[in-house]
Each structure stands twice: as structure tokens, then as C-alpha cells.
């Protein structure tokens, strides 16, 4: 059934209803055949017996010449199919016009029997009169078996003919009703097909049959989710365009300053600034792409839920590599990353690349907003029995006040006036990764360094 091309509902209903009707009719016919045959046999056998009894009471005079008497034919048509014989002491003394010369039943048989004589099937009732233990008279009353079949077949014809006439009518009626019944479905599909991709308003749920309502509701739900995603994407592009304008404006301006510079020193300064602007724009674009990729991953996450989960990673090693990677950046401003490595490996369910992105963004923020020469601390606590691994990044920067803490992780949100050219995307990326992997991210003031403290807690490993 599954491999078959899907049948239309109308065709399915039509086929099933017709098949059902035909089966019911066939069973009915079989039952009627059986019952009729039974009743007919009883009735006609009774007639045979009755006639035999009648003949037995009559006194039949034998022809002197020994020629059996022939009964007159009264109704030609049916009389040919019924016959009788009267035997007296082994001699045929009387018979009907169409009766054969041989006995209609085997010798010794009394009551009902069937016999074929010269290719004709007879149903026979035999009665005998005994005298002193010897058979004196035998009376056979018989009937063509085919006559009975004809009656039965006529009955069946009466039953089946209307069906043959009714079936096409029935098929048309069913087809028409089904078409009428699925009209709302077709109207719905026309409405959906005619929609522009941008039209994501809900479909009306009233004027729809109850069977179709779940479909309409599901569609409306889908429209809602698509609209939400579309809006979020539009917001993202608008935000991205907005955020890219300032770095590009800076690059252009510095390039034009270099173009119009009167002295080598001025040109050099402007070109240096142009390159710095390009680096900043590159960083911003890289982060935008990273975020877009993460969002795409989050969107398709449900669909790929049964796919192979990426392998976990060893957190201590990831931190080790990331700290080493960022050390030169830190050193450029006289900063230091203090990394308290745990003695043992710390496994986590997050893939190494994502864990590195998470950590790099946290460290990048910490370094960016810490003063020159400051140090940033990274600690890693292995998983306990009831909780997963814990990563802590602390800095001695200005920290954040309550209002800013709340807005952390909004796309492109950054605290203005810090003199730092952050993109405002780092935290969006961190939050997104956290949401993808069920990490808990808490932010507060560092008791040790006075700046921002970020705690990332992995979920407790499932006990398997």
C-alpha cells in the first residue's frame, strides 16, 4: 500500500464502496440461492410425492394388448418436463407422454432419487405396493432436474439484473457525493497554492468541516512559525546591514583621507587606520557568518534529531588550545590569560569546534573590556555526580550594571562608550551555542577580579 502511488480520496472511496456493495450482493445472492433451492426442492419433491400418492390410489386398467396407457398431454410446455410410469409386476402399464421406457428409478429404490437416462437428469419419487412380500405395483413420478435449475436461475436473474443496472448509477452517485464532500479540501488547496510566499496570515478556520480543521490549524501553525523565522531573518539582515555601515564608513573615510593626505605621515596614519578598519569588518563578518550558521543549525536541529550526534570533546584540551591561540592578542596589550588547568581531563558533550567558538568569544570579550596589562582568569571544574563540567571566565574590566546584564546576548547589543570596537555579536554566539547544547550561562561580578564573571555549566551527563 505504501509503495503505491497515492490514490485520490474520491477514487479510494469510490473503489472501496463499490467493492463493498459487490461483496454484499454476492453474499446475498449465495444465501438466496441456497434458501430458494432448498425450499423449491422441498415444495417440488412434495408435489412429486403427492402426485405419486394420487396415482397409487387410482385404478388403472391395463391395455389388453399389453401396451401401456399413455396419459394425455394437457400443457405441452411443462408437461414434457414431468413424467410418470406405473409398473405392474415388472411391466410398464401406464406412463406420461414423454416418459422413457426404462424405469425412472433403480430397482428397489423407493422415495426420492436422482437418475440420468439418455443424458436427461431426472428427479424421481418412487412408491411401491407390496403384496405378500413381493412388489406388486411401482409408481415413478419424475421431473427434469434442469426445470428446477431454470426456476432458480430466473430467481437469480431477478436479483442480479437490477444490481448490474444499479452499479454504474451507484458509482456515479458515490463519485458525485465524494467530490462534493472533498470540495472544501480542494478549495483549501487552491487557496494555499495561490498564496504568495510572503502571505503568511492565517487561513480562516470557520466554514471548514471539522475533519479539515486540524489541517487548517496545522497549516496556520506552520505559517506562524515561518513568519516568525522570516521576521527574525529580516531583523538579522537589517541589523547586520546597520552594523556593517559604520566599519565600512570608517574604511572609506580613512581611505579618502589617505588619498588627500598632504604629508607622508598623515597618509601612513590613514592607511594604518584603513587596515585596522578592514580587520574589524572582517571580524564582524566572520562573527555574523558564525551566528547565521548557528541559527541555521538550530533551525534544522529538530529535523536532524535522529542523526548522529557530534562526538563530545575534552574541555581542558580545548581551553588549552584556545588560550594559546589568544595569548598573542592578549600580549599585544600587555594582558595575560591565567589558565588554572584541572589535573584530570574534563569530557563534555559539546563538539570541540563549538566549544572553542564559545570559549574564544568569552575570552575575546574579557580581554577586550579589560584594561591594558590586566589578567583574565579561566577555570575549569570537572563534572560532579549531580552536575556537569563548569567553565569560569573572569576579568578585571568595568563589569556590567544590571540593565546592561539583562541586554547581554541581544544581537548587536554592546555597551557604548567603552572605546572598544566590539561587534556586539560575541554574546549572541555564546547564548546560541548554550541554547543548542543545553548549557547554563550565568553572568555576575567577579569577586576576585572585580570585573565580569561568566559561568558556563554543562548539563549532568546522563547515567548510562
Amino acid at each position: 500500500m505504501a509503495a503505491q502511488p497515492s490514490w485520490s480520496l474520491a477514487r479510494r472511496l469510490l473503489m472501496m464502496t463499490l467493492a463493498f456493495v459487490v461483496i454484499v450482493w454476492a453474499v446475498t445472492t449465495a444465501v438466496v440461492w441456497e434458501l430458494t433451492q432448498h425450499e423449491l426442492n422441498e415444495l417440488l419433491d412434495a408435489h412429486l410425492a403427492q402426485t405419486a400418492a394420487l396415482l397409487a390410489t387410482g385404478e388403472l386398467e391395463e391395455d389388453d394388448r399389453g401396451v401401456p396407457l399413455k396419459a394425455p398431454t394437457l400443457i405441452r410446455r411443462y408437461q414434457s418436463r414431468v413424467a410418470f410410469q406405473i409398473w405392474h409386476k415388472g411391466r410398464l402399464v401406464a406412463r406420461s407422454a414423454d416418459a422413457p421406457d426404462v424405469p425412472l428409478a433403480e430397482r428397489g429404490v423407493e422415495g426420492l432419487s436422482d437418475r440420468a437416462i439418455d443424458g436427461t437428469e431426472w428427479r424421481v419419487f418412487t412408491t411401491a405396493r407390496h403384496e405378500n412380500g413381493r412388489v406388486e405395483d411401482v409408481i415413478h413420478v419424475a421431473e427434469h432436474t434442469s426445470a428446477r435449475r431454470h426456476v432458480l436461475l430466473a430467481t437469480l436473474r431477478g436479483l442480479l439484473l437490477p444490481l448490474l443496472l444499479a452499479l454504474p448509477l451507484l458509482a456515479f452517485g458515490i463519485w458525485w457525493s465524494v467530490r462534493r464532500a472533498v470540495a472544501p479540501l480542494r478549495a483549501l488547496s487552491r487557496t494555499v497554492a495561490a498564496r504568495r510566499p510572503q502571505a503568511l496570515d492565517t487561513l480562516p478556520e470557520d466554514n471548514v468541516p471539522p475533519e479539515v480543521q486540524p489541517l487548517v490549524r496545522a497549516l496556520n501553525g506552520l505559517f506562524g512559525r515561518v513568519a516568525e523565522q522570516l521576521a527574525s531573518e529580516r531583523r538579522f539582515t537589517a541589523d547586520a546591514a546597520h552594523e556593517l555601515r559604520t566599519p565600512i564608513a570608517a574604511i572609506r573615510m580613512q581611505a579618502q583621507v589617505a588619498q588627500g593626505a598632504a604629508t607622508d605621515g598623515e597618509r601612513h596614519a590613514a592607511l594604518t587606520a584603513t587596515i585596522a578598519g578592514c580587520d574589524r569588518a572582517t571580524h564582524l563578518v566572520a562573527q555574523l557568518l558564525q551566528l547565521a550558521r548557528l541559527e541555521a543549525e538550530a533551525d534544522s536541529g529538530g529535523a536532524r534529531g535522529d542523526g548522529p550526534r557530534p562526538a563530545g570533546c575534552e574541555l581542558a584540551q580545548v581551553v588549552d588550545e584556545t588560550v594559546r591561540e589568544l595569548a598573542p592578542t592578549a600580549a599585544a596589550r600587555g594582558q595575560r590569560i591565567v589558565w588554572h588547568a584541572p589535573g584530570a581531563p574534563v569530557p563534555a558533550a559539546t563538539g570541540a569546534p563549538l566549544a572553542a567558538v564559545l570559549l574564544r568569544n568569552l575570552l575575546d570579550n574579557a580581554l577586550r573590556y579589560s584594561p591594558d596589562g590586566a589578567s583574565v582568569q579561566v577555570r575549569l571544574a570537572p563534572a560532579a555526580t549531580d552536575s556537569g563540567a563548569l567553565l569560569v571566565v573572569e576579568d578585571s574590566g568595568p563589569g556590567l550594571d544590571e540593565a546592561h546584564l539583562e541586554r547581554l546576548g541581544e544581537r548587536f547589543f554592546r555597551v557604548l562608550g567603552t572605546g572598544q570596537s566590539g561587534s556586539g555579536l560575541g554574546w549572541s554566539i555564546v547564548r546560541r551555542i548554550a541554547r543548542l547544547h543545553g548549557l547554563q550561562v550565568a553572568v555576575d561580578r567577579s569577586p576576585a577580579l572585580g570585573g565580569l564573571r561568566v559561568l558556563v555549566r554543562w548539563p549532568a551527563a546522563p547515567t548510562t
Binding site: 565600512i248 564608513a249 570608517a250 572609506r252 573615510m253 580613512q254 588627500g260 590613514a270
Partner: protein
């Protein structure tokens, strides 16, 4: 010509300051909305370039605040907010021009010159007072059709005086118009430049109003 620049982005701000200086503007640069409001209200600027996404106070609030104080200095909004609604809101809030980043340096300078010109009620880019003609865009001065070589400061001073023709400007006002922060102003700098201008343009070109300041007078219609 002295311009206030309010921009919090270091790279863009330094570029704008240097670029506008190349086009003959003396630029003072502030990095937040509160400072921008304070400096604009000092009245020392011919025009201002205002970013909207500023720390401490949004550029729109700064603009609304100074317009509420009846400040008429032309303000050019330079921002990344490109939505039509944002442009309309900016202009309705009191901006005289609205440019979306990124912007061409030459166009920005031309728009600033146009704003300054219009704020002085001068329709053409070429100013004339008597036989003197000054083209701010070309940075050129003619006396009776003959080009005159002037230093940058002398040009700026003449520009301000010609824009305010028939109005007396005090020495302080002239200083404010000419010098941005950090440029060392000697006590008699204005007098020195006036002296040089008179030498190049004729002694009657600039009139001294004793105890008040200086003025350029249009010749009475004959």
C-alpha cells in the same frame, strides 16, 4: 570654518576629523551625546556632524535638546540608521541634512558648506562683497577678477567675514570660528591675519569697529 563632530567610533571619527580638515574645516570631536549637546549650545560652530547611536545620550535626544533651546546651528546627521522612518524622524527632529553611512568625504564637505551658506542666507556657493569674490568649494578668492593667494587661516577669516557681511564680529567670535581645540591661539592671532588680509586686499576691505570688532561692509548701492 569650525565644525563639531559627534561620533563614538574611533576609526570613523578620526577619519572624519582628518578628512574634513583636508577640506578646510576646523573639527572638534566629541564622543558622546551629552558632550555634543554641551558643545553645540556653546554656539561656537558653523555646523555639526552628528551620529545618532551615541553613548550616554542618543543623537536624536541631543538634537531635540539643542533645538528646544532655539539653537539654529545647521546639523547634519550621519548615521547607520537607513530606514525611511528614521530619516523622516531625524529631519523632523531638527536635522538640516541626513546622510547614511558610508559617505563620500567630498560630498560630506560640500553638504556642510551648503548648510553653512544657507544658514547665512547666501544662495550661491560664490560669495561676493564689493569687488571681492570667494568660492569656498574651490578655496579661491578673487579681487576685481584677479586671483589672490591667501593662507588657510586668512581664507577662513575672510570667509567668515564675508558670510556675515555688514555684521560686526568680535575678536572672540572670530577666534571661535577659526580655531578648534588644541590649536595654539596667540593673543593677537586675529589681528595678525586681519593685517595680512588688508595688505593683500586693500586697507579698506575690512573695517575695524573700535572696541567691538571687525566688519566687512557691502558698498552702498549707487
Amino acid at each position: 570654518m569650525r565644525i563639531l563632530l559627534a561620533e563614538d567610533d574611533e576609526l570613523l571619527g578620526s577619519g572624519l576629523k582628518a578628512g574634513l580638515a583636508q577640506h578646510g574645516f576646523a573639527v572638534d570631536w566629541v564622543r558622546d551625546g551629552v558632550a555634543a549637546e554641551r558643545e553645540l549650545l556653546s554656539g561656537s560652530y558653523q555646523a555639526a556632524v552628528l551620529d545618532l547611536g551615541l553613548p550616554r545620550q542618543d543623537g536624536m535626544d541631543t538634537l531635540a535638546a539643542v533645538r528646544a533651546r532655539r539653537l539654529t546651528t545647521p546639523v547634519l546627521v550621519l548615521t547607520a540608521r537607513d530606514a525611511v522612518d528614521a530619516r523622516i524622524a531625524g529631519l523632523d527632529c531638527g536635522a538640516d541634512d541626513y546622510l547614511v553611512k558610508p559617505v563620500d568625504l567630498g560630498e560630506l564637505a560640500a553638504r556642510l558648506r551648503a548648510l553653512v551658506r544657507r544658514s547665512h542666507g547666501v544662495p550661491q556657493s560664490r560669495l561676493t562683497v564689493g569687488e571681492l569674490a570667494l568660492d569656498a568649494a574651490a578655496h579661491q578668492v578673487w579681487l576685481a577678477g584677479e586671483p589672490v593667494e591667501l593662507s588657510g587661516r586668512e581664507f577662513d577669516l575672510l570667509h567668515v567675514l564675508m558670510l556675515s557681511a555688514d555684521r560686526v564680529l568680535t575678536r572672540d567670535q572670530l577666534e571661535q570660528h577659526l580655531y578648534n581645540w588644541g590649536s595654539g591661539v596667540s593673543s593677537n592671532a586675529v589681528e595678525v591675519h586681519i593685517h595680512n588680509l588688508r595688505r593683500k586686499l586693500g586697507s579698506t576691505a575690512i573695517e575695524t569697529v573700535r572696541g567691538v570688532g571687525y566688519v566687512m561692509r557691502r558698498p552702498a548701492a549707487s
